[in-house]
């Protein structure tokens, strides 16, 4: 495109353009709808049917082993789930894993983000290496750590001088699972925080330094408040993801040793025991939990203006 063809017609249609504005605006609207429609339809269709079907199934006695005994039973499935001790156990397991692993990820992620932000040499290399755990297949990460912790094959029990298998009891299993989660997910946390760090102006930090603020004061009083949106987004994403933990536990022990998570219970009820009614009730309850977490972060702390990216 040459500049001549750009400039020439520009002055001429200035007036007629105004008359066509509503036409153009309408065309733009129509094009907008057409461009957005396919993606929207796919997302709604693929998630709405299962969602509705889950809610409907959760109100029925639906067991694939007894397909003829299907029957509407109201909220009985929910009653059965909420009365079952195993439900509250898996909720507790999931909360422990989520809180501990996300807290550690946040602290380490912040340190990693600061290191990536301020590193004085080989910054590109550092970022590439820090991305490695993020890119690794979750199942591979779980196997690597599982074999590393196992007494029969691993180097960690040797290193720590353990004589019993750490994976044979709950505490060791939790430590191993949380280490795996932290290793796999800290880079993503760090990247989200790094984006927030980039928004903190250096002049402000320099000014505070001149005024006598030490490094910790500068971090707490300036850096953290300014990057609060990024922190909330990172915590929201990671909390939701950690709460749905499945792959790592499945590979480690399929929920043995008291490590069963809500997603594990959901999976085994649906696909091992084929009890779609009870399993669907668990799904709906998990969905409600996720909704509550998102609501607390978005409404309570004001996260979410960031990821939508449309707030302004």
């Amino acid at each position: 495109m040459t500049s001549g063809t750009v400039t020439a017609p520009q002055s001429a249609p200035a007036k007629p353009q105004r008359a066509h504005l509503s036409d153009r605006a309408r065309a733009e609207r129509n094009l907008g709808f057409k461009l957005v429609a396919p993606a929207l339809i796919v997302m709604v269709a693929v998630t709405a049917y299962p969602l509705i079907s889950t809610v409907v199934l959760s109100l029925q006695r639906a067991d694939l082993r007894f397909p003829d005994a299907n029957k509407f039973i109201g909220l009985s499935n929910y009653g059965a789930v909420l009365r079952a001790p195993v439900w509250w156990q898996v909720v507790w397991h999931t909360v422990i894993i989520t809180v501990v692993s996300v807290s550690i990820q946040f602290v380490l992620g912040m340190l990693l983000a600061l290191a990536m932000h301020r590193m004085i040499f080989a910054r590109g290399t550092l970022r590439a290496i820090a991305l490695v755990p993020y890119a690794i297949v979750a199942v591979v990460a779980a196997y690597s750590w599982n074999y590393a912790w196992s007494l029969t094959s691993g180097w960690i029990p040797k290193l720590l001088g353990l004589s019993s298998d750490p994976l044979s009891h709950p505490f060791g299993s939790y430590v191993a699972i949380i280490v795996t989660e932290v290793w796999k997910n800290t880079p993503f946390m760090a990247l989200l925080l790094l984006a927030g760090l980039a928004l903190v102006p250096d002049e402000l930090l320099e000014a505070a330094k001149v005024d006598g603020a030490n490094a910790w004061q500068r971090f707490i009083r300036i850096t953290v408040p300014l990057m609060k949106p990024a922190i909330l987004v990172a915590l929201l994403f990671r909390t939701l993801d950690a709460f749905r933990i499945f792959d790592t536990i499945y590979i480690f022990n399929q929920g043995a040793n008291g490590t069963e998570s809500i997603s594990m219970l959901n999976y085994s009820t649906l696909l091992d025991r084929l009890n779609l009614g009870l399993g669907s009730a668990v799904s709906v309850l998990l969905f409600v939990f996720v909704g509550i977490i998102a609501f607390v972060f978005i409404k309570g702390f004001g996260a979410g203006s960031g990821p939508i990216g449309e707030s302004s």
Binding site: V36, V46, V139, Y267, L271, L276, V290
Partner: protein
């Protein structure tokens, strides 16, 4: 800021710690894949006897080779479809004025937060009824759906950075909005699209929940699901060497992508999260 030698030493130490923490599990699984079956459980970090037999072993098993083919095919198709649909939507969101933008972003956010396990039961049921269970489309459809939100966020963030005056110039020249998109903006948008493609491909490549729930045979099983179901010598012993070798093979493609496109991936992952 001036850097003195003690500062350099501190940064060097930090660098070393990060590198060791990030890479030890990767090196470990590689070492494990190079051990002979007899020494696989000796617990040493460095193999005492080195071998490549685990690799030749897995490539002789159809369960692995077909899983590799399924992973690549399903991943590429699902990613292409997701990026195609998301490009159109992201262009509209970044560029056009129309009501309902908030709706698509809200739906995307809801899909991101959706517990995938909640989809598994109904999809398993439905797929069995309509014959999509254990087929490529049976995995492509959920992968594409869950990749769409990230694709839309990332692409609309990239698209906002594009100098749109060029598009206006093309429109003034008489191009329709669609022509302006195809001939002027699409080439400028390519880097963002490539980045999104890589990020989405990694998501599809990594999936485990859908793969173990919606497939059962070589017809559609992907590598993560196949690894978890490798046949051992007996029911109670896992074929550690085979699993480790398969794990390394499935890791290599993503590792290459990440190392090659490190800068783009960092900007892509952060672009959607914080408005620039």
């Amino acid at each position: 800021m001036k850097t003195n030698s003690s500062q350099k030493a501190w940064w060097g130490a930090a660098f070393a710690v990060i590198v060791v923490c990030a890479l030890v599990p990767v090196v470990w699984i590689i070492m494990l894949s190079l051990k002979t079956p007899e020494t696989a459980t000796d617990g040493s970090f460095i193999p005492h006897q080195w071998t490549l037999s685990n690799y030749s072993d897995i490539f002789k098993q159809s369960v692995f080779t077909s899983a590799l083919r399924n992973s690549i095919g399903i991943g590429l198709i699902a990613t292409s479809l997701a990026v195609l649909l998301a490009s159109a939507a992201a262009y509209a969101i970044a560029r056009l004025k129309f009501p309902g933008k908030q709706a698509i972003l809200a739906v995307s956010l809801a899909v991101v937060m959706f517990p995938q396990i909640s989809l598994v039961g109904p999809l398993y049921n439905l797929w069995r009824q309509i014959g999509l269970y254990d087929t490529w489309p049976g995995l492509i459809i959920p992968y594409m759906t869950f990749a769409l939100p990230l694709s839309i966020y990332t692409l609309s963030a990239f698209f906002r950075e594009i100098p749109w005056e060029l598009e206006q110039a093309a429109q003034v020249d008489g191009a329709t909005p669609f022509q302006a998109f195809r001939k002027v903006i699409a080439p400028l948008a390519t880097p963002g699209i490539v980045t999104t493609f890589i990020l989405v491909f990694i998501i599809c490549w990594n999936d485990f929940i859908f793969a173990i729930s919606l497939t059962s045979t070589n017809a559609a099983q992907t590598v993560p699901a196949a690894i978890a179901q490798f046949p051992g010598v007996s029911q109670f012993t896992q074929p550690i060497g085979d699993i480790a070798a398969a794990a390394v093979v499935v890791t290599i493609p993503v590792m290459i992508l990440v190392l090659l496109f490190q800068r783009r991936i960092v900007s892509g992952l952060t672009a959607g999260a914080v408005k620039g």
